[in-house]
């Protein structure tokens, strides 16, 4: 069983996001980068499935050589090799990223293509679904449980949806996007970190993947910080709170 995992580098989720002075982008001076948390869940699930079904896990990422550090961190967790599609990540929208991933799928022909349900920078929540559409594959998004049958042919996936948990069965190959509750990602062990340095990162470019059209469908025009909500008052007692709710906010 072969499993591809889309792996995106993002600004440290715990960092405070600031805009550049001209508001054209996010200030990346002295920021730390990490793997997108949802991608880590996707990788962890892929590794668990590979361990159980004698499979191979391959990471796929798009960007310049500066993202290799994040890719190596994924390799240290147990992925066997990686593919980096050489592209300036500033010129990707969800659609172009999806076309890149769909093209890599055609080269690799995996049984499962895992994604995080969204990247915590752009928060688009589209890429996996678009890849599934471009490839005509079934999808299970927002997965909180994945069970692969003994023959490695069907994935039964529980999805976290509004109002409950939905379970669907997909005939592989399929696209699955990971939600946070899917698993708890493992930590890399020191020997594996050493070993990851020797694993292969194959670099491909858009020509290799026959992608000529790099026009963006959705373009960023400007960024702003949201207007801060006005802090209200501290009340001194429950009586005062109830009084304000009743007579000022008219919320009772």
């Amino acid at each position: 069983m072969k499993i591809l995992v889309a792996f995106k580098r993002v600004i440290d989720p715990d960092a405070r996001i600031k805009l550049t002075a001209d508001r054209s982008g996010v200030d990346t001076d002295s920021v730390e980068y990490k793997a997108n948390p949802f991608c880590e869940n996707a990788l962890e699930e892929a590794l668990q499935i590979a361990e159980e079904h004698d499979g191979e896990v391959v990471l796929v990422s798009a960007g310049g050589p500066d993202i290799d550090k994040t890719i190596r961190a994924g390799l240290a967790l147990g992925a066997e090799r990686a593919i980096r599609v050489e592209i300036e990540d500033t010129v990707l929208d969800s659609d172009l990223a999806a076309r890149v991933f769909a093209a890599v799928y055609k080269e690799e022909e995996p049984d499962i293509f895992f994604f995080g349900k969204q990247a915590i920078d752009s928060d688009n929540n589209q890429c996996g679904q678009l890849v599934a559409e471009y490839l005509g594959l079934p999808q299970a998004c927002f997965a909180s449980e994945v069970v692969i049958d003994d023959d490695g042919e069907v994935a039964t996936v529980t999805r976290e949806v509004d109002g409950g948990l939905e379970t669907i069965a997909l005939t592989l190959p399929a696209v699955i996007t990971a939600d946070l509750r899917l698993n708890t990602p493992r930590f890399a062990k020191l020997p594996d970190i050493m070993k990851a340095g020797r694993k292969t990162i194959d670099v491909m470019d858009l020509d290799d993947l026959d992608i000529e059209d790099t026009a963006l469908k959705i373009e960023l025009v400007s960024l702003e910080e949201p207007s801060a909500r006005q802090a209200g008052v501290k009340v001194g007692s429950i009586d005062e709170l109830v009084d304000k709710l009743k007579n000022e906010a008219r919320a009772l």
């Binding site: 600004i11 996001i17 969800s94 659609d95 999806a98 915590i120 920078d121 928060d123 688009n124 929540n125 589209q126 890429c127 679904q129 678009l130 559409e133 079934p138 999808q139 299970a140 998004c141 927002f142 999805r159 976290e160 949806v161 509004d162 109002g163 409950g164 948990l165 939905e166 379970t167 669907i168 069965a169 005939t171 399929a174 946070l180 509750r181 026009a215 469908k217 959705i218 373009e219 960023l220 025009v221 400007s222 960024l223 702003e224 949201p226 909500r229 802090a231 209200g232 008052v233 501290k234 009340v235 429950i238 709170l241 109830v242 009084d243 709710l245 009743k246 906010a249 919320a251 009772l252």
Partner: protein, 317 residues
């Protein structure tokens, strides 16, 4: 021929309120809209949408749509988009719209504006990024545009009267390599989080799962409220299910009243509730960030304050 096609969100034959936020966005875009209702036994949904000014209401009512799957819903939406000639295809940004709308965009070569929170001059759109810490203004370069609407950012459209003609839509769903197995509905007598007028949420300060419910249940009762929780709570306590999480990676809510109990107010959580009309925070830490967004903050121990609050709310009514 309408400018916009709205895909109605429904559950068990009942219209979801978020659909009316999508109607509101359509009214702001202008140029008229059609509606698509997809499901099995969804005549009542079409009826519920009468009087909102749709040019047409397309209904794809078939057993194949009885349980939601992305590909059949995409096929129905693409068929309705062709029939309507719409430039904009709009639905809600819950797990429903997030799941199938990107496939619609891929199928018709449209760009997709995810989680739209408003329109901007010059045909541009506003949407949140970085857990709501940044609002981006984006431009769609495609002829047709798919939009998922963050319902909490729009008022529900008001009825305008009149009747919209209903047209049955037949859809070729094709082969789908996915099948529905089961749906495990969150059992609750309470309203749904994203639809409730009042939401009461608890944080890690409530000690453990059973204590969480001991404190929050009576509070929810007095307000007929939905109960929410922070990510730390749903991650740590089995008694509090995941779909109760309010936050950027959980549910985004904007009720008339939001009561945050023993919640410190991580950015992640604030992104999910800061557009509530009135926010009350009860927390024993006077420095907790939640107080920066609360209209009314009470520095107090939740275990003592909440029961007293409940009694005094009852008395004040």
């Amino acid at each position: 021929m309408a400018n916009i096609l709205i895909v109605a969100e429904q559950s068990g034959g009942e219209l979801k309120k978020g659909t009316l936020a999508a109607v509101q966005l359509a009214n702001q875009l202008g140029g008229g809209f059609d509606v698509l209702v997809v499901g099995s036994g969804v005549g009542g949904v079409a009826t519920a949408l009468q009087g909102y000014g749709a040019g047409k209401i397309y209904v794809a009512d078939d057993a194949v749509f009885g349980n939601y799957l992305a590909q059949p819903f995409k096929a129905a939406t693409v068929a309705a988009a062709e029939a309507s000639g719409a430039k904009f295809i709009v639905s809600t940004a819950g797990t429903f719209g997030k799941d199938f709308l990107p496939r619609v965009a891929g199928a018709i070569g449209a760009g997709m504006v995810a989680d739209c929170v408003g329109l901007a001059e010059g045909g541009l759109f506003k949407r949140p990024m970085y857990a709501g810490n940044i609002i981006a203004t984006v431009k769609a370069n495609t002829e047709r545009v798919v939009i998922s609407v963050r319902a909490s950012e729009f008022d529900n459209a008001s009825p305008v009267g009149g009747e919209s003609p209903i047209e049955a839509l037949s859809v070729d769903v094709g082969d789908v390599a996915a099948r529905f197995v089961s749906f495990d509905a969150t059992e609750s007598e309470r309203p749904e989080l994203t639809e409730a007028d009042v939401v009461v949420s608890g944080g890690r300060g409530l000690k453990d799962g059973p204590t969480f419910w001991n404190v929050m249940n009576p509070l929810a009762d007095v307000f007929s409220a939905a109960v929410g929780a922070t990510r730390a709570v749903v991650d740590s306590w089995d008694e509090v299910p995941n779909d109760m999480q309010v936050g950027q990676t959980g549910k985004v809510v904007a009720p008339k009243l939001y009561v945050a109990v023993a919640i410190s107010g991580a950015i992640q959580h604030l992104a999910g509730m800061k557009n509530s009309k009135t926010i009350v925070a009860i927390n024993k830490d006077a420095e907790a960030p939640i107080f920066q967004v609360a209209d009314y903050g009470l520095v107090a121990d939740a275990f003592q304050a909440v029961p007293e609050f409940i009694e005094k709310v009852k008395a004040a009514r």
